[in-house]
Symmetry: C2
Subunit: 329 residues, 2 copies
């Protein structure tokens, strides 16, 4: 492989001049520029990234931590992140944590070893205490999931309001016995639950413990939840699902057991992924502006990188959330 030295020799110039041409620095005569280009072409020269990164002390790469790519929510989020990233010449390093604390930490290590300039959490497994120290290695942003104790910029939705809207919709359709499912580990999950409870309490409705499900967001879990519900003596008439995947699983299993939706059991989802529209009946759900979250997040990242701020000033960007009424409620 050709190096900058080879190019310099062939062009009859110094490494410095070649470097200046590569990086579009001023003060190089057109003539020599052409000489360099020609030599680069002839030798099929491409600068070695590791050397550049080492010297420049910059990688122009950002790590994006997602729990899993098979949950379609995250590919959409990445779509948004990527749009702004490419505009700014940034490379994305997509890292799947699979909800694993150790993996998450190993990805934080990318920041310490200077493999990336910044890092974005879209979900978070460890305590903030554990993560805090990594801040000095570069900008960290939270997108989607959040921790109130974290002194970093956050791009998120008002989950409380979102789930309140959803719950209220169920209630206004006449449901008094409503089950809830959704993770409650993170703060996001907790807030969703909060919004749900607020609506229920406002209408003086019971939030019964046996109607609470804290499973992970997957179709399988949705199916399981429905089976549990049908086996109950005192059954809820509606389910508030913490994700479209769960909602879809519930609908699917309900139908295979011969239940009608929404007559026998109503379901509301969360996210508004393509599958929401696909099931029969289509899932009423709470839409998150996923792509916009991604874009906004990356905009903040680029501005932080530009002003070199390993920002630990907390800023919260809240995006709007919207109820999409279809036929499952």
């Amino acid at each position: 492989m050709a190096t900058i030295e080879d190019v310099a020799k062939l062009a009859g110039l110094s490494r410095a001049t070649v470097s200046r041409v590569i990086n579009n620095h001023p003060y190089v005569t057109e003539k020599k520029k052409q000489l360099v280009y020609q030599a680069m072409k002839e030798l099929e020269y491409y600068p070695n990234s590791s050397a550049q990164r080492l010297r420049k002390q910059r990688t122009d790469a950002i790590a994006v931590l997602v729990p899993s790519l098979t949950n379609p929510f995250f590919p959409f989020l990445i779509e948004g992140l990527e749009m702004v990233a490419v505009e700014n010449g940034l490379q994305l390093l997509i890292c799947q944590t699979h909800h694993n604390k150790e993996k998450e930490l190993s990805f934080l290590n990318l920041l310490q070893t200077k493999q990336v300039d910044g890092l974005i959490f879209t979900s978070i497994e460890n305590d903030w205490e554990t993560i805090a120290s990594y801040q000095e290695c570069g900008p960290i942003i939270m997108c989607n999931e959040y921790k109130s104790e974290s002194p970093v910029p956050v791009v998120r939705l008002d989950q409380v309001k979102g789930s309140y809207k959803g719950a209220r919709h169920l209630i206004e359709k006449g449901h008094k016995k409503v089950a809830y499912c959704g993770g409650t580990k993170g703060e996001l999950g907790a807030d969703r639950l909060k919004g749900f409870k607020t609506a229920m309490e406002e209408f003086k409705l019971d939030v019964r413990e046996e109607w609470m499900f804290r499973d992970s967001p997957s179709i399988e879990c949705g199916k399981k939840i429905l089976r549990e519900i049908t086996s109950m003596e005192n059954r809820p008439t509606a389910v508030f699902a913490g994700s479209d995947e769960i909602g879809v699983g519930i609908i699917k299993e309900a139908k295979s057991l011969g239940l009608r939706i929404p007559e026998d059991i109503a379901v509301i989802g969360f996210d508004d992924l393509p599958i929401a529209e696909l099931v029969e009946p289509p899932l009423t759900t709470i839409r998150q502006p996923i792509k916009d979250m991604g874009k906004k997040t990356m905009e903040i990242m680029t501005s932080m990188l530009a002003k070199q701020s390993t920002n630990n000033e907390k800023q919260v960007y809240e995006l709007p959330i919207q109820l999409i009424i279809r036929e499952s409620v």
Copy 2:
């Protein structure tokens, strides 16, 4: 940030010895090892990746080119790739080409600039001629999509056989008028079409040009296709869909127009993604062992990296394909 030099000084040793400890080289006394560990801890030292990569002439990173992550096929494929990658200490660089030739080339550039040691195509936009020269920069493998003129290892399915099976299933269910949809740009698409045609010809059935659709694999396209079909005077009674997404789109739209499936129109998909099971009625489809393809591919990659072979011996690994009968045919 602390460097290896700082660690060496604090431990009262040379950089060389510290490096030996970091890389688990033999011939370091336990005593000094401990000194080094202690110093590293005290200084919160982490080796600079760029420096390591530059010096070692190795990145332990592999680029994976996918068209898009929002097509769930690829996250599953990545799942398989990743499993084997982490076992071997390799990092995955996931690159979305969005079916764009220029982007694809820009990702190939990762190989030239030594940002990755090898590269995996799961789809391919450019001619092989254009790509060929990149081979000397490191091992290239094709997974899923393939080009017969490419002298690199290929992990794939027998697409001809797969679509033959599917088409035959439709025919055996009594369908004589069968529409086909699926991309025909790549060789994979061409082979699928070939299998389809083989079955049709075997049963002396017409492959009518107006029943051929060459759209991209998305739910929207499926919907569009169905609308076109319903507007025809001479309608097919069954559709061979080139992907589950298309199949699902067709089913969805058919139902919203009041058509019964499979009575009014039968549909068969390809891939066996989770959505296939979700629609009503569940989609009969041709299952690809996606994860296994990923695993096999990464195994080949690691072995190529191990024996330093910028392999240009063609080897074809064909994985089994299976018809999953549900209710849409």
